[in-house]
């Protein structure tokens, strides 16, 4: 069975946070999960590789990037949007 975008994003985040995917809550922030700046760029890289998309994320201005990382749910939505656009 193919995994949904959300499941795959959660798996990527879980791997960075060193926890099980079922422990990744959608309202958790990266800080809650103990993911630092390096963990974040690694996760962004994994997302790009998994979905073959280009994530508009600049580590200097994470809040201004067109990629919302405020919590797990927002990252999932952002990736879903990118995947949908990539299919156009």
């Amino acid at each position: 069975m193919t995994k949904s975008v959300a499941e795959q994003v959660i798996a990527i985040i879980a791997e960075q946070a060193l926890i099980e995917p079922e422990d990744v809550k959608r309202d958790a922030t990266l800080e809650d999960l103990g993911i630092d700046s390096l963990g974040l760029v690694e996760a962004v890289f994994a997302i790009e590789e998994t979905f073959d998309v280009s994530v508009p994320f600049n580590a200097n201005a994470p809040m201004e990037s067109d990629f919302d990382i405020s919590d797990v749910g927002s990252i999932i939505s952002a990736v879903e949007k990118l995947v949908a656009t990539a299919g156009d």
Binding site: S37, V41, V44, N58, A59, N60, E64
Partner: protein, 412 residues
């Protein structure tokens, strides 16, 4: 060593009697300084193979650059670009110093250079050739071209420097660490003359592609301390100086550009990429202690000032904590805004700005400064060079890996 000689050695002073450079601002130290005075933006569209596959396409690339104007065909076969840059800067510095090395002096004169990537261009070209083009043979000089000590070795051969010579690699602080070693060697009596500085040439497909991964590069410009900064921009080039024992320089009537009066290095021991205020602060304060000067004597700091969110904020906070109220009276600028970040060569090119401040009373600006940032509320000499009298200047370098090195210079 007798006790008296040991005491004499501890009194040795170190001065700079020659400077040379090549950067996006110019092919010599004077041209580079002219660019800094004018507040010229040396960052342009990158031109090399496969730039269309990069998402970052700007940099402080030296243009036009034709190695054939400076080197023979055989030399070009043997010299990676980072070696070429070091040789060009070293020739200029030696010529300016007017030094003639006797056999006795040559035996102790050495060269300590910084670089982070070494012969990265050579690696990039040859990996492309074996992996992408499927070739099964590379040029026989690949190893002597790519090794990190190639530049220092060729400078030593060209100028007959037979004393202590080596290469220092501490990422963005390589040049400052190198110059600190050269300073210590003269101060400690091991040598009367050292060529020192650093060189870098990472502007190639693999070099930029690797940096893209960290997502700290700006796509549109280097704006240190400005609220709208969005990352660093890479540069390339070299800076080389002649460091000389003061009495030796005076005895031969050398033109002394500045005195190196102190140096300190620290390690954050905390994070492989994030800067650390405490480590930066300890390096600055340590350098002032080593130089035996009070913070209030410092008129100018050449900042590390990369233009990343993290560095600029941390650096300003460290400066504030070390200098207290005097932080509002000193000037601090980042010339990376003009020549880009030369990584292992950056401290050397930036030392030029310190010498210009001390010698000519001209403070290089931080260009592209658009919006004040409350986290960087120091006098960053925005956009235009300024005339001011400065007696003591500092040059900061805070590297990836948390390795910091700060130099202190005084006018003479």
């Amino acid at each position: 060593m007798s006790r008296q000689r040991a005491i004499d050695a501890s009194m040795r002073r170190v001065v700079i009697t020659g400077q040379g450079a090549i950067s996006a601002l110019g092919l010599t130290a004077d041209e580079t300084l002219e660019g800094m005075r004018e507040g010229r933006n040396g960052l342009t569209t990158l031109e090399f193979q496969d730039t269309e596959r990069l998402s970052i396409r700007i940099g402080g690339q030296i243009k036009p650059y034709d190695p054939a104007l400076r080197f023979s065909r055989q030399e070009i076969t043997l010299y990676d670009k980072f070696t070429q840059f070091a040789l060009i800067a070293a020739d200029e510095a030696m010529a300016q110093s007017g030094l003639v090395l006797t056999e006795e002096l040559a035996a102790e004169a050495g060269v300590v250079l910084g670089t982070a990537g070494g012969g990265l261009q050579t690696q990039d070209e040859n990996y492309r050739s074996v992996y992408e083009d499927g070739k099964n043979r590379v040029h026989p000089f690949v190893v002597p071209r790519l090794m990190n000590n190639a530049a220092a070795s060729h400078v030593s051969m060209r100028h007959n420097l037979q004393g202590p010579s080596f290469t220092v690699a501490t990422a963005c602080a390589s040049s400052n660490h190198a110059m600190g070693q050269a300073y210590s060697l003269i101060r400690g009596g091991a040598s009367k003359v050292m060529l020192t500085g650093g060189s870098e040439s990472m502007l190639c497909f693999g070099g930029i592609k690797a940096w893209e991964g960290l997502r700290v590069l700006s796509k549109d410009g280097c704006r240190p301390f400005s609220a709208n900064r969005n990352g660093m921009v890479q540069g390339e080039g070299a800076g080389v100086f002649v460091f000389e024992e003061y009495e030796h320089a005076r005895a031969r009537g050398a033109n002394i550009l500045a005195e190196v009066i102190g140096y300190a290095m620290t390690s954050d021991a905390s994070d492989i990429v994030m800067p650390n205020k405490r480590g930066a602060k300890r390096a600055i304060a340590g350098a002032l202690r080593n130089a035996c000067v009070d913070g209030s004597a410092v008129g100018y700091i050449n900042a590390h000032g990369t233009g990343t969110a993290a560095n600029d904020k941390t650096e300003c906070a460290a400066v504030r904590e070390v200098f207290g109220a005097h932080a509002d009276r000193l000037m601090i600028s980042s010339t990376k805004s003009m020549h880009g970040h030369l990584i292992g060569g950056t401290g050397a090119v930036e030392l030029l700005a310190c010498i210009m401040a001390l010698r000519d009373g001209v403070i290089a600006p931080t260009i592209n400064y658009d919006e004040p940032d409350p986290d960087c509320d120091l006098d960053v000499v925005p956009n235009e060079a300024r005339e001011a009298e400065v007696d003591v200047a500092l040059s900061n370098a805070f590297a990836f890996g948390g390795l910091n090195a700060v130099m202190v210079l005084r006018s003479i």
